[in-house]
């Protein structure tokens, strides 16, 4: 999962770089002199240029058949023929449409995308969206709901477009995200380091994030950025967060709950349980529940009978040192010396014992 995110963010960086280079040389999409248009556009527009052209569907809906060419210019498919997607429509008169309503027609047209984007289409079959669709809910999104139809552009350019796309259905989540430390950086500063929706949720094979197996992946997911030294040093953020979490009781639990059979009765506290999911804020923001004095409330979400001193058991992602948690550090140091001393000493005596036996012979 984290590899996919890294790969995607690398792709995004590469795409941005390419854009910068081509824009500089004056040969980018914007600099292109003659816009492409579908080669068969004139033929189709003879009829579909008509403003009034429409079809009455069995549902009573009136399906507009007028095509405006303008949005197609500059789309990634601008040089395709209309019939490349609208297969079977080369016959005139066109074959009858079997869909009972407009939504059925849209959903049915997914087969069109599959002809070229088979690998991507296959991925969508694993998504929570496809699962909802399979339950008979036609409102679940298909290709064109996210990518558009005639006006298909690169979905991540600019990256803030991604969250706008998801927001069309997931408005509440998107609003929370927009206020978060990640969302603000993306939307207000066009920051390329922060995750957009698809960096955590993936784009085509979006898993149900509520499944325990998916939740238990969150440490690695967050860690794919937060344990990345190069990315974090720009913001002065510690990369020890993942390792210190994993080394703690919650992290050990989360790691090993993944390998057990069946779903665990109660998941270990994950990154998102303390930091939030879409509404993640900086831990040093005023009033943050993760400030030391507010931490007990966070602990009590899972440990309702926790008392005042309980949060001190958590070292706040710091590695033990003489300054932070000296007792823990002292204990670690003691065993770092004591174990090799004892075991080495015993091993030495065994070797001496054997050596003397050999000499005695």
């Amino acid at each position: 999962m984290s590899e996919g995110i890294l790969r995607r963010s690398r792709d995004a960086c590469a795409a941005l770089l390419l854009l910068a280079v081509t824009a500089g040389s004056g040969e980018g999409a914007a600099g292109r002199q003659v816009p492409q248009r579908p080669p068969d556009a004139d033929e189709c527009l003879a009829c579909h240029g008509e403003e009034e052209l429409a079809l009455d569907l069995p549902s009573g809906e009136r399906l507009a058949l007028h095509v405006d060419l303008a949005p197609m210019i500059g789309s990634v498919h601008e040089a395709l023929r209309c019939a490349d997607c609208h297969a079977g429509m080369t016959e005139v008169p066109h074959p009858a449409i079997e869909a009972r309503n407009a939504r059925e027609l849209t959903v049915g047209l997914q087969a069109t995308c599959r002809r070229c984007h088979f690998a991507t289409y296959t991925k969508t079959l694993d998504s929570v969206h496809a699962a909802v669709m399979a339950q008979g809910n036609l409102a679940a999104p298909v290709c064109t709901d996210c990518h558009g139809a005639h006006d298909i552009r690169r979905p991540g350019q600019p990256r803030s477009r991604i969250s706008q796309t998801c927001a069309r259905c997931h408005a509440g989540v998107s609003a929370a995200y927009a206020e978060s430390v990640h969302g603000r950086a993306l939307i207000e500063e066009a920051n390329v380091d922060v995750p957009a929706c698809t960096d955590c949720h993936r784009s085509h094979d979006i898993a149900d994030p509520r499944r325990p197996a998916a939740l238990l992946q969150t440490p690695e997911l967050c860690g794919s950025c937060h344990a990345d030294e190069r990315r974090m040093q720009k913001y002065g953020l510690s990369t020890k967060v993942l390792q210190t979490y994993l080394a703690d009781f919650h992290g050990v639990t989360a790691s090993l709950q993944r390998v057990g059979r069946g779903d665990p009765p109660r998941l270990a506290a994950l990154c998102i349980d303390c930091h939030g999911v879409h509404d993640i804020r900086p831990v040093d923001a005023s009033g943050s529940p993760l400030m030391r004095q507010n931490l007990l409330m966070v602990c009590r979400r899972c440990h309702p009978s926790a008392t005042e001193k309980f949060p001190d058991a958590w070292l706040s992602h710091y590695e033990p040192s003489w300054d932070r948690a000296p007792l823990v550090y002292g204990a670690k140091l003691f065993y770092a010396v004591f174990i090799p001393f004892v075991v080495g000493g015993l091993g030495l005596q065994i070797l001496l014992h054997i050596w003397r036996m050999v000499v005695n012979r």
Binding site: L256, G260, P264, V328, I339
Partner: protein, 264 residues
């Protein structure tokens, strides 16, 4: 004379057996939690089923281990106070001298070997290591089992300290057993393939002479005295005859420095 001498009472043999079983169970269910990132840790958890089950077994075994420890301490205390057991495991100045003598022998500096009593300095070291380590493991294990209750009466930082101690002390115990105990009880040429005395309770006269010469001499001396006393006071007072009951009651055997020839 018999070729076998009673070395361990039934209580001691059962204690060893329980310690052994619980130790293995605790190690198998504890190590994967320490090395949770390794593939074998995942294998162990998957083989047992779920992490919850691993922890349940670990905690149950831990509680039983703690109870065994407390039982041992209470039993030994009562036996000692009532004079039915001698403190043969308490380290003395002689043990340090023995260690030096033995090291000089191993290094080839001298040909004199340490002459030990009922327990030599290595066995005393291992016993106290297990006892103190067991106390540390039980206490820190309880803290980790009951963190909320711990934080009510103690600083919260005690919990991560307990985790470090439990984790490292457990590793140390395992290493000592794997390196030291397995060598001394199985691999050492004197006992290979296995020292059976802790399971059968008896040790051969020959090994006794070699490994515990002082205890062996004490036993011989005691037997001589008992025989003399029996000869002198024959038929006088039945209750005063010591040698007769030793075979049936190993606990009492301890009180008499194990004066107990056992018929094979």
């Amino acid at each position: 004379m018999s070729e076998w001498i009673v070395r361990f009472s039934r209580r001691q043999r059962v204690e060893h057996l329980l310690t052994m079983v619980l130790f293995v169970v605790l190690a198998v269910t504890g190590l994967p939690q320490k090395y949770f990132e390794s593939s074998w840790a995942e294998w162990v958890v998957a083989a047992i089923g779920t992490l919850e089950r691993v922890r349940w077994i670990h905690r149950l075994a831990g509680i039983l281990f703690g109870l065994l420890l407390v039982t041992h301490l209470v039993t030994v205390s009562v036996l000692t106070v009532t004079g039915r057991a001698a403190l043969t495991l308490v380290p003395t100045r002689k043990d340090f001298a023995d260690a030096v003598t033995q090291l000089r022998y191993y290094l080839g500096v001298s040909d004199e070997q340490a002459r030990c009593g009922r327990f030599d300095y290595r066995q005393k070291f291992e016993y106290w290591g297990l006892l103190l380590g067991g106390v540390a493991m039980t206490l820190t294990g309880l803290i980790l089992y009951l963190p909320i209750q711990t934080a009510r009466v103690a600083p919260g930082e005690l919990i991560p300290v307990a985790k470090v101690v439990h984790s490292n002390e457990g590793l140390l115990a395992l290493l000592v057993v794997v390196v030291w105990h397995i060598y001394n009880a199985h691999l050492a040429p004197e006992v290979f393939p296995m020292d059976t005395s802790i399971f059968t309770g008896r040790i051969s006269r020959e090994r006794m002479q070699h490994e515990h010469p002082l205890e062996y001499e004490a036993i011989l001396a005691q037997q001589r005295r008992a025989a003399e006393a029996a000869a002198a006071g024959e038929g006088a007072q039945a209750g005063a005859a010591p040698a007769g009951n030793v075979l049936e009651d190993p606990e009492r055997a301890e009180a008499r420095d194990r004066v107990s020839p056992l018929e094979p």
